[in-house]
Symmetry: D2
Subunit: 208 residues, 4 copies
């Protein structure tokens, strides 16, 4: 496929990422305005690089004309929260929305990976209006605490360096860092109730 063709395929995914980022950021704004606690701390998004789409397609034995149905994370949204509990609140919230449909979900928090990876993934269908009409695309929403996100960023760099084949001693250290991140999340959950009430007060004061 040539660059121009790729660009044509990827444009609705770019739109979806932009629209979804605006929408999730707005949830935070609305809740804080209403004096309610926001489970969303911040939101990022990206369209997968062409080279990464090609690698993934090869790895999964997906033909070029099937990538749009079979590669679910071409459009990717990441939502960061303060507390593990917030993750589940966000998942419920996504399910009530009328402007996107949940296809399936993977709970890598209750079932965390051997590597130490923890996150909640939701695959959605999302309608996009393009120059040539309405189109439904797939997008992946990853929901994590700040500590999970910190760890995952590091793991991503290491995986990349070692071509997905991290040496044993590094992998071991990485799992220890994962444990430290997990511990931080647990300590946080314990003071959560206090903090939540404190933050709502804080938001309300800064609005006035």
């Amino acid at each position: 496929m040539e660059l121009r063709e790729w660009k044509t395929i990827l444009i609705p995914y770019e739109y979806a990422v932009e629209e979804l980022k605006v929408k999730f950021k707005n949830i935070r704004k609305e809740l804080r305005n209403n004096g309610e606690y926001s489970p969303i701390e911040f939101v990022t998004g990206r369209v997968k690089k062409i080279s990464s789409i090609i690698s993934k397609a090869k790895k999964l034995n997906v033909n070029m004309d099937e990538i749009e149905e079979k590669i679910e994370d071409i459009a990717g949204i990441r939502i960061m929260c303060q507390f593990v509990e917030d993750i589940y609140t966000i998942v419920s919230l996504i399910k009530t929305r009328k402007d996107m449909t949940v296809v399936y979900e993977k709970d890598y928090i209750k079932n965390y990976k051997d590597s130490g990876y923890r996150s909640y993934h939701v695959i959605i269908k999302y309608p996009i209006q393009t120059a040539s009409g309405l189109k439904e695309i797939l997008a992946e929403i990853q929901i994590r605490t700040l500590a999970m996100n910190f760890w995952a960023t590091i793991e991503h760099s290491l995986k990349y360096k070692y071509q997905h084949d991290i040496p044993k001693d590094i992998a071991k250290r990485l799992r220890r860092a994962g444990d430290a991140a997990f511990l931080l999340d647990q300590e946080m959950s314990e003071i959560r109730e206090e903090i939540m009430r404190a933050q709502v007060m804080f938001e309300m004061k800064s609005l006035t």
Copy 2:
């Protein structure tokens, strides 16, 4: 109504303005990427100020509980184009979209106002997902050339200064400036075909 209540009312309008800005900017991006001419030059948007909503409600004899149905420009989008012809292209394009519905339209270009005001207004219905569910709101899209926009900015300041009662000699000078803006648009239309072809070439080159 208190400030907090106003904020709650205005939040879906803020969302709509953000989403619509993203959507119209994306049309431009998509067309340019496809090597096609974009009728959209730039896009701005705003939510009407509370004080302006109140003034307008008084002027139109609208009760506070009817403002959402009767004041159509609480959410306002403005699309600027290079050529008068582009305005009509954009209107057609809005009508084909599935994610907004045209309620009615006013062609102040063919039927320009005595003051010299020229623009095309389209009132749409737009669905917004809020914390409390899906809601349909009204939004006004104003479509203008750059010259029309320049003139309208000036008129807006003068109207404001003179409390909508511009002195005769100023109004006369303003109409002359309006004529000069109109002349510029006409000269532009004459070289339009040439320019359009030139610009498509330009975009395509800058993509490679």
Copy 3:
């Protein structure tokens, strides 16, 4: 020169464009906050594309190791105003600043080009802190009315299309459009005093 070398050369220019944009936008903000009229309407900036730097160097017989001294518009800032008078206010203002030094200036408004091009160009020296120390670079500031800018955008596309060799009849039409833009600027200047006073009132009201 390789892409990586180009990137290293261009980085201080990118910084300069970002910093200068912030600084000129802030002038507008400060004046409006003080209830004074701002001669600056909006500000854009860009670093010249590598391909354009190379073409210009060839055309001007400039060696690759001299481009930083001899090509003055690698960093380019454009300031748009409502009135011709504002352009001269901005030029004076640039001359009083301690954080940039004017090298020379070209008044293409009093001495407009045959093509119809009108603008005021100021070449400055600007200090930039990079990873390897402090560096002084050249930057070009173009100051124009909105109407001049509109015309110049069109001319740029046409020049590009015809490789700087615009056919006679197109060039003639372009000059007529230039005249219409000039006329609009003149009409504007006549109502300027009124408008200026109106806008200051407008800004003050919207601050309160």
Copy 4:
């Protein structure tokens, strides 16, 4: 002091925050472009709220005409890093710059507070060009790891809730969360060398 006077005082601080944010983000961009590791992960900034300036002035017995000399964090910049080691790299880097002067520094990492607070603070003088000439202002740069930042956000909310008088059991839990954050930073430092080399490779690949 009236709102308008406050705005006039605060404008140079707003400029400083904007300029400093641009400058520190550019360091990251430049290093990554050169294929070097960036000690800066992300940068935020804010001007202190008027109400907070007034409270701090009262607490420190500072007169209103002395606030610009005696309150050092009216302009505040926060730089987040992945590793504790990066903090010291950034401090050295600030000291070599010609466009800001270090007034003094406080190492709350080696000497962390009883509360559990850890961060490195650098107070700088920074020149700002305003409409009325050049002015030197004070600004505070806080440098932290992501884990320190996470903890400090939580502490800030709790301090606010309890009016700086956090109940003993909450304070104890907070210190435990601080320990967990510290442990995470330590685990991170251990795999740092590996990660640093991995990330440089990652950046270089994504540039090509």
